[in-house]
Symmetry: C2
Subunit: 253 residues, 2 copies
């Protein structure tokens, strides 16, 4: 089955930041810029490598940016702006990316995006963008962005973003798009060290890789990508959707 | 402030599995066995190294095991056993580790442990334990276990366990105890690439490291530890408790 890897275990991982990526403009040839950055960082891409790429540079290359000064807030956005203290134009952009408002308190708005991701501000982000007037949106189809880069670069791709989570403080980088990388490592049914079948160990490998990549990518330095070497897998995923759990099946909520 | 690291960014990470750890018996000198395993795996511990250690071997060394055949289920455990189909003796052990039952459906019981961790079966685990009659409990004070190992081995320690999470399928290794490793990397207030202060980027470094370590430790192979090299930090954490978010402050629920 294409979603899960049955290999893994005694691998060792190496994760390097990729520097030398210039400011990304809409329409940029991202694969070419990444290839050059990887080369200038001293590496050559190998087929079993995985490149983690922040959504930010993909969004910029794909022109997923909105100029707030050109946004007309709807009455709903204006009302939310009044109660939350958020810029109503920013709220308008967030609502456009939102399938469902999960929670609002003060300035914090937790949304389910049209993709099904649950995150603050529906992934709309003001940081690292020119002038403060421009915000980025998540890529429209991060799996498609990942597949294109995987084809062009000849390695696995994980598109990452930095999300909060329930129960625990602090953010983690997670996968929001994937190509040629399995979502899971499935140990279920394999015998444990005593010969009993393991019952519930299905590791979310793609998110673990994203989290680790997030550690080396930093947030302020210009390292919007990380090269991961040493992760072994049998087969690859078909898209990030299969990691999203339907709310009615979620025993953690 | 001791909880957060202000350094990081352009580090590169290497993560190796530690083999050659024998079956752990109660009272075992875990530090000595880990030191030997690290050496037999070809490494020498350096002060800035971090060793991720699964709770399982710590629990075994600390004798945190219960023989189900010696457990008398309470009426409450018997009732839960009847409705859930779970072994009532196992339920009894789980209830003893539980501060609050979060959810039950079928055989799945999500609990808040006395430590404040939210996980299936309150961390009580049947796998990789002799005979199927014995279950392990989480260490009583995983921070204390971590501090002791950190003193003995002279490196950072993260005690890990494998938890499910809301919204997303698949499990991730997370930190349940920590010594000499910061919980967070705090980018808040630092300028982004455009000079605007980042507002909400406080990475849960200790969980990202745990997740990455989980990828190389496997679940069935005898690699209950992983050595992490390359993570740079200024100062270290004082305990895992500060990463746990109070339910009334949790906008993700």
């Amino acid at each position: 089955m294409a979603l899960r890897s049955r290999l893994a275990g005694s691998v060792s991982l190496q994760i390097w930041p990729i520097h030398h990526i210039p400011e990304i403009q809409p329409g940029a040839d991202l694969a070419e810029l990444l290839r050059a950055g990887i080369q200038d960082s001293g590496f050559t891409v190998q087929p079993r490598d995985i490149l983690a790429v922040t959504q930010k540079i993909i969004s910029k290359a794909e022109g997923r940016m909105v100029r707030l000064s050109e946004v007309q807030p709807s009455p709903e956005a204006a009302a939310i702006g009044r109660t939350s203290g958020k810029d109503p134009r920013l709220v308008e952009v967030i609502l456009g990316e939102t399938k469902r408002l999960v929670r609002m308190r003060g300035e914090v708005v937790i949304c389910e995006t049209h993709h099904g991701f649950i995150c603050a501000n529906a992934g709309v982000d003001r940081s690292n963008v020119e002038g403060g007037d421009v915000v980025t949106l998540l890529p429209r189809d991060p799996d498609r962005s990942a597949r294109q880069l995987a084809r062009q670069l000849g390695c696995g791709i994980i598109v990452t973003d930095t999300f909060g989570r329930p129960w625990r403080e602090g953010l983690l980088d997670v996968a929001i798009g994937v190509a040629r990388v399995p979502l899971f490592i499935d140990y279920r049914g394999t015998p444990d060290t005593k010969g009993y079948p393991l019952q519930a160990t299905n590791l979310a490998a793609v998110d673990a890789l994203a989290a680790a990549a997030g550690l080396v990518m930093g947030k302020t330095s210009q390292t919007p990508a990380a090269l991961i070497r040493g992760f072994a897998w049998d087969d690859a995923s078909t898209g990030i959707g299969a990691i999203l759990r339907a709310a009615d099946k979620d025993l953690f909520l």
